[in-house]
């Protein structure tokens, strides 16, 4: 029954959008009190330049300076925008081999990224290289499930960060994949992996209950889904509550639209991942209204 109401509402609101955008777009925009845009990438893998014209799969696609152009366009339209990345910024082109991630982090800083997380390929030149490259990063590197206390990254990586955007507080935390068997021990050193599901529950409690965040976003490098019971974004979404959006990576998954997963509270957690190599930019728009104590209605999700 509830589901039906939800669908009805969705249809109703969609048709209103269609109409109003034709008639008078400004009136429609004003009907929301707050509008937050989340832009995101994952697994860019040092793809600073577009793929060459003769590339078999992605001819002349991607490219950092085009992405930046798009980011600026979107920010001009809505300045209340966060720019996030889900890890594996490193490795994949000679830019990484020659400069060890310096240019990747410098460009992300110039483009105005607020946060990224640690993907497994961030360790490719060793954990101390991540520490060294962080001097070029003007964004937060977030991870909550690696114990880094016996590494050079100790104190440099926060589990979460809260961003205040137009009065909306957005809690962002990071999760990383199990490194054993994926990355050589000599590269990740004393990094200790902790079960991401338990950590996620702790993080959500801190962000939602202690800090009263309006939005909770997880930057995950766990991977979208596996045949085996390896922990994935789908599993994470199902077994937690109060995460509004998981920005995923690692599996280089191209999703036609963000996935809607029913979480522990019976509500929807969204998962989005936009392939790899900077071929796409993900865009999620969150609209808020001040509601006068009539109780919260179902959130309309148009994806």
């Amino acid at each position: 029954m509830k589901r039906r109401t939800f669908i009805n509402q969705t249809i109703k609101v969609s048709s209103v959008i269609g109409l109003s955008s034709v008639v008078n777009p400004t009136i429609w925009q004003k009907s929301y009190d707050k509008h937050i845009t989340i832009l995101h990438t994952n697994d860019v893998h040092s793809h600073i330049d577009p793929f060459p014209n003769n590339h078999r799969k992605f001819p002349n696609r991607g490219g950092v300076s085009r992405r930046y152009n798009l980011i600026q366009q979107i920010k001009a339209e809505n300045p209340n925008t966060l720019l996030l990345d889900a890890g594996d910024a490193f490795q994949g082109t000679p830019y990484f081999n020659f400069y060890g991630g310096e240019l990747e982090y410098k460009l992300m800083s110039k483009m105005g990224y607020q946060a990224s997380t640690i993907g497994n390929h961030e360790f490719d030149n060793g954990i101390d290289n991540i520490t060294a490259q962080l001097q070029h990063a003007k964004f937060d590197l977030l991870n909550a499930n690696y114990d880094l206390s016996n590494t050079s990254l100790d104190g440099l990586v926060k589990p979460y960060q809260i961003y205040e955007v137009d009065g909306i507080s957005i809690g962002v935390f990071g999760l990383g994949i199990e490194l054993e068997g994926l990355v050589s021990k000599n590269l990740y050193g004393e990094t200790k992996y902790i079960n991401p599901i338990e950590i996620a529950q702790d993080q959500v409690k801190i962000l939602k209950q202690d800090h009263q965040c309006d939005l909770v976003i997880c930057l995950s490098h766990l991977g979208y889904q596996y045949q085996s019971d390896k922990i994935s974004d789908i599993q994470l979404a199902k077994s937690t509550k109060d995460i509004d959006l998981i920005i995923g990576g690692h599996t280089h998954t191209f999703l036609d639209q963000p996935s809607k997963v029913v979480n522990q509270a019976g509500k929807i957690t969204l998962i989005n991942q936009v392939g790899w190599a900077g071929l796409n930019l993900g865009r999620m728009d969150f609209y808020f209204n001040k509601i006068n104590g009539k109780g919260v209605k179902d959130v309309v999700i148009e994806v």
Binding site: S65, R66, N69, Y95, F98, L107, Q257
Partner: protein, 253 residues
């Protein structure tokens, strides 16, 4: 005084009430994915920032290191090829002195994998880019100490698979039915009492390409030397590469 307090309390209540009423609630979410392609113009300032890095890389990539009179592809010949032999011999030539200096032992043989040859080499100038093409990954050279039993498992693997996995300082002849005809390492047959030092890539040591015999290594020595850098250093030392297919791994009809 009392009324003052009363006023403040009233104001506080009002503020709490207002904040509750004004608490923004999430009402709608929209999601989309935007392609980054040639429909977008390039941001000029970012392009200018990237340019010196790009030019430096291109200059280094195009740096001539060596020369080959003929093109080399891994599929040129059935069980060993000019390019595979060159790569395995390069590992032997470059890694052996390092291994000897550090551990006072010599490498007995080299085993790489056919799948690890990621590109062919065209006739003409060999550049840094050539090394990136044949070895785009970050794998390192490692030396595994194997007993005679594991060496036999390695030979059986090669005989059974009949794939041109590059080898050096070893000779293997197999029969049509993939049985081993004979095998030499360091020019000699296997001595059951000896252990052998096989140089390979850390990828294969971790069980890549199902080379499980490496799992039984008595000891593993990591040389902290990237295979790609090894090839670059090898090319720098050779004026001309003249590797060819030979008799090191053959099938006797």
């Amino acid at each position: 005084m009392k009324t003052q307090w009363f006023k403040i309390i009233i104001l506080l209540c009002f503020a709490v009430l207002m904040s509750c009423q004004n608490q923004p609630e999430l009402v709608k979410i929209k999601g989309q994915q935007i392609a980054i392609d040639s429909n977008l113009t390039q941001d000029k300032s970012l392009e200018e920032y990237i340019e010196p890095y790009r030019n430096a890389i291109q200059e280094e990539m195009n740096r001539p290191l060596s020369y080959t009179k003929k093109a080399m592809f891994k599929s040129d010949n059935p069980l060993n090829s000019a390019i595979g032999n060159m790569m395995a011999d390069a590992v032997y030539d470059m890694a052996n002195p390092i291994f000897y200096t550090r551990h006072k032992d010599s490498i007995d043989g080299v085993l790489l994998n056919y799948g690890g040859i990621r590109s062919g080499i065209n006739q003409g100038v060999i550049t840094t880019k050539t090394a990136y093409n044949i070895m785009p990954f970050e794998n390192m050279v490692a030396v595994a100490e194997l007993d005679a039993q594991s060496i036999k498992a390695m030979i059986n693997y090669l005989g059974k698979n009949q794939v041109a996995h590059p080898i050096s300082n070893m000779q293997l002849r197999i029969k049509n039915n993939s049985e081993i005809l004979d095998f030499k390492i360091n020019g000699k047959p296997i001595n059951d009492d000896k252990t052998y030092f096989i140089a390979t890539s850390d990828y294969l040591l971790q069980g890549g390409d199902n080379m499980i015999f490496f799992k039984n290594a008595k000891q593993v020595y990591k040389l902290d030397y990237k295979l790609r850098n090894l090839f670059i250093d090898y090319f720098k030392k050779q004026d001309t590469i003249s590797s060819s297919a030979d008799q090191r791994f053959v099938k006797i009809q």
